[in-house]
């Protein structure tokens, strides 16, 4: 009902002004600046125009390709597992007759209180070669030989996947729970009166209500995974043999380790931007298709 006279519009811009100014300076400008930088070559603060030289370098850079592959692998394996797990746990927790519901919920949610650095400490120590996890699995006779979590290229990836899943499943579960609790109980009551079986209720009532959440959590998790840095920098340092090198970590190393190469690092960062844009586009298409009956 706001009036759209000139005076009130001005008032509106006064409210949004401080934020817009800061964003221009610390967001818009850096985005454009890194686009410009990606066209520069050179080390340290000495740039010279290099045109598409950096992009050519991408195609020659084995570490970059490895980081890209690792990031995409993590994405494709980890995100679906976590979302499915979060949904499963939410559905299990949504049963009002469940005893100790609040306790379970709090416990499962607890990991997302820790900082990314703090839980890196935990995982690095628990997954040591003689560490508690290997001991435990041996005691259960699941393993007869310890797993070299930190020094094997395959298991290091598994470790990172386990770590991220531990940290974020509870977080995502909360969104599913909220969506489940938004479903009118009377809909289920009506379905029961109509004699609709349990699995059909789940399929026709519960699942449709969860699809927007699946979309939302998939997008946020994907963006998060594309930016994966804290864990790999602290647990594995990208190793062994770059097996857990991610794009963000690589950008960091290019920029702030050894001889900084800002221009090339900016180019790599635009790879992430392009990936996010492609994925956002898919999300947009999915959301639009869903709106069509």
């Amino acid at each position: 009902m706001a009036q759209s006279s000139g005076k009130t519009t001005l008032t509106g811009w006064l409210f949004t002004g401080p934020a817009l100014m800061l964003l221009t300076f610390f967001m818009v400008y850096p985005i454009l600046s890194s686009l410009w930088m990606s066209l520069q070559v050179g080390k340290g603060m000495n740039f010279s125009f290099g045109g598409f030289a950096n992009m050519w370098r991408l195609t020659q850079d084995a570490v970059f390709q490895k980081a890209l592959l690792n990031t995409l692998t993590l994405l494709v394996v980890q995100v679906p597992i976590m979302i499915a797990l979060a949904m499963l746990l939410a559905v299990a927790l949504n049963d009002p007759s469940l005893k100790g519901r609040a306790l379970f919920r709090t416990a499962i949610f607890l990991p997302c209180v820790t900082s990314l650095v703090a839980y890196s400490v935990l995982f690095k120590s628990m997954f040591a070669y003689d560490g508690v996890v290997n001991r435990f699995l041996e005691a259960l006779h699941i393993l007869d030989q310890p797993i070299p979590w930190l020094s094997d290229t395959f298991w290091a990836k598994v470790l990172i996947i386990l770590a991220i899943t531990w940290r974020w499943t509870g977080y995502n579960m909360i969104f599913f729970l909220a969506a489940l609790q938004n479903i009118e109980p009377s809909i289920y009551e009506a379905a029961r009166i109509d004699g609709i079986p349990r699995w059909a209720q789940f399929q026709k009532i519960t699942l449709p209500a969860l699809i927007p959440v699946v979309l939302f959590t998939t997008v946020t998790s994907t963006i998060g995974t594309l930016q994966l840095f804290d864990e790999v920098n602290n647990i594995t340092l990208g190793g062994p043999a770059n097996a857990t090198m991610t794009l963000s970590l690589y950008i960091y190393q290019l920029s702030f380790k050894f001889m900084p190469s800002f221009g090339y690092a900016a180019t790599v960062s635009y790879v992430i931007v392009v990936l996010v844009m492609i994925l956002s586009f898919f999300q947009f298409v999915a959301a639009r298709d869903r709106r069509r009956p």
């Binding site: 519009t9 934020a19 930088m37 820790t114 650095v117 509870g170």
Partner: protein, 261 residues
């Protein structure tokens, strides 16, 4: 069946916390060999930690950065969220859509130019450099805009009839009415700042300026980390957020969900 699943999930979720606390009482080699019973090294570990880092300074730095950044973020973001919702125009909606698009730009793409800018402003290794880029958080702006949709329009009208100016309406009506929104946003923002790692890692270079989170990371990255000491440090770094979570669990969850509505 359901109970088994939930019990396993709960155990897996909580075990690392127990591990953390038990670990703080053990020596490094015991931790690495998977000792799950409390040891006697807690005091030793604490002493060693205080010898290696200036705990008071670290906590002071972390708290200072988190408090200032939270206060500024809340002011700037709630003003903007309110402004975008109440004073909608075709153009402002377009600007807002632009902000949302930027929400998905990864920090990695910003950090290099940001670093260069900070260097040009001679702000490297200052807390100002850590705080400034986090203040206009698009996420928090978005959160406040969503929440503002539930702010009753009639209340604004009543305030206008009562003779309040626009800034008075914001200060004396909107802010107190929306205090649970502010509470939730405070928690989220404070935690994000307390746990922030990559950007402080880049701009903070000397030990006197570092945060507790950075200190934990640097203890861990030692050539042969002393896990007993690291565990004590991690416990201390996690304690504030854990306390906030247990005291304000409801607002915390509400804060998370705010972005979905």
């Amino acid at each position: 069946m359901v109970y088994t699943l939930l019990s396993i999930a709960a155990f897996v979720s909580v075990f690392p916390f127990l591990w953390l606390i038990v670990g703080a009482t053990n020596i490094s080699s015991d931790i690495l060999s998977g000792k799950t019973t409390p040891g006697h090294a807690l005091f030793d570990n604490i002493v060693k930690l205080t010898q290696q880092v200036d705990l008071v300074q670290l906590f002071y730095n972390s708290t200072k950065i988190a408090v200032i950044s939270t206060i500024l973020t809340l002011i700037v973001a709630s003003l903007a969220g309110y402004g975008f919702e109440i004073f909608k125009s075709k153009f402002s909606e377009r600007v807002f859509a632009g902000l949302l698009a930027m929400l998905s730009v990864p920090f990695a793409a910003l950090m290099i130019p940001l670093f260069v800018t900070m260097a040009q402003l001679h702000l490297i290794n200052t807390h100002t450099a850590v705080i400034l880029p986090t203040v206009a958080s698009i996420f928090v702006i978005f959160y406040f805009r969503q929440a503002s949709k539930s702010f009753p329009m009639e209340l604004r009208d009543a305030a206008r009839v009562d003779g309040l100016r626009e800034w008075q309406i914001f200060l004396f009506v909107y802010m107190p009415v929306m205090r649970s929104t502010y509470a939730a946003a405070t928690i989220i923002t404070f935690m994000a700042s307390w746990n922030n790692y990559l950007w402080p890692l880049i701009v903070l270079q000397t030990n006197e300026m570092k945060t507790i989170t950075l200190a934990v990371a640097s203890l861990l990255s030692a050539y042969v980390p002393d896990y007993g000491v690291v565990m004590v440090a991690t416990t201390l770094a996690t304690l504030p957020t854990l306390l906030i979570f247990f005291i304000l669990q409801r607002q915390f969850v509400q804060g998370l969900l705010g972005s979905l509505k």
